[in-house]
Amino acid sequence: MEPNDSAVDERVSIAVEVLYFARLREVFGRDRERAQLPADVRNVADFMAWLRKRGAPWDKELAPGRPFLVAINEEMADPGMPIRSGDTVAIMPPVTGG
């Protein structure tokens, strides 16, 4: 793909694969989905805000200050981490193994 093509794609929308785990998987009623995000969703914080617009239970579960974890492409991510087309974004409760 030419560099210009991906730049054009990202202006239109960002396609990501989203994974949900454990309690959040049950609350949201899905273990994965393909999401088409508007171009102004640039980072993890923007993406969480976009998901909260779906209303209950997304708004409550993903509210700022709630203790959930986000990973992008199997790396733990903080709110400022950029999201790009083709990324796999995982949303997880705090871990309870061991």
Binding site: L19, F21, A22, R23, E26, P67, L69, A71, E74, E75, M76, A90, M92, P93, P94, V95, T96, G97, G98
Partner: protein, 133 residues
């Protein structure tokens, strides 16, 4: 493990076991969920961090997933070093970090139905004490 390296003078190990009681409810079984891919990476990272802090000659971490019952083993951590101090410390560090950083989630089956185990502040506190300034 000890046959692999004659410099090993100490092997510390920890085994985590499923209890039949938690937060006042009978636990009939426990289901462990994980994130294939990220979980392995997280465990490798935790082990690398332990190796950077202590002179570890060998280490092994095994964590089970799926349905477990009371008295089943959930997790095994084994650390080999030249002397016991490092083996004990690294073993405890690996468990404390695993409990707060490795993507595993427990769901308990109780007579009242399934319930997800909540993360514990005491586990965060235990991991926190290993932090270097």
């Amino acid at each position: 493990m000890r046959r692999s390296n004659p410099r090993i003078g100490a092997i510390a190990c920890f085994v985590g076991v499923v209890r039949d009681l938690n937060e006042g409810a009978d636990v009939a079984d426990m289901t462990l969920e994980h994130y294939p891919g990220l979980t392995e990476k997280a465990l490798e990272k935790i082990e690398a961090e332990a190796r950077a802090r202590w002179n570890i000659l060998d280490a092994l971490v095994v964590h089970r997933v799926g349905v477990l019952r009371p008295s089943d083993q959930i997790v095994l951590v084994v650390v080999a070093s030249a002397h016991r101090g490092e083996a004990f410390q690294a073993c405890e560090f690996l468990m404390d970090y695993l409990k707060t950083k490795a993507p595993f989630w427990k769901k308990e089956g109780t007579p009242q139905g399934g319930r997800w185990v909540e993360s514990r502040q005491s586990d965060d506190t235990a991991a926190e004490r290993w932090r270097t300034a």
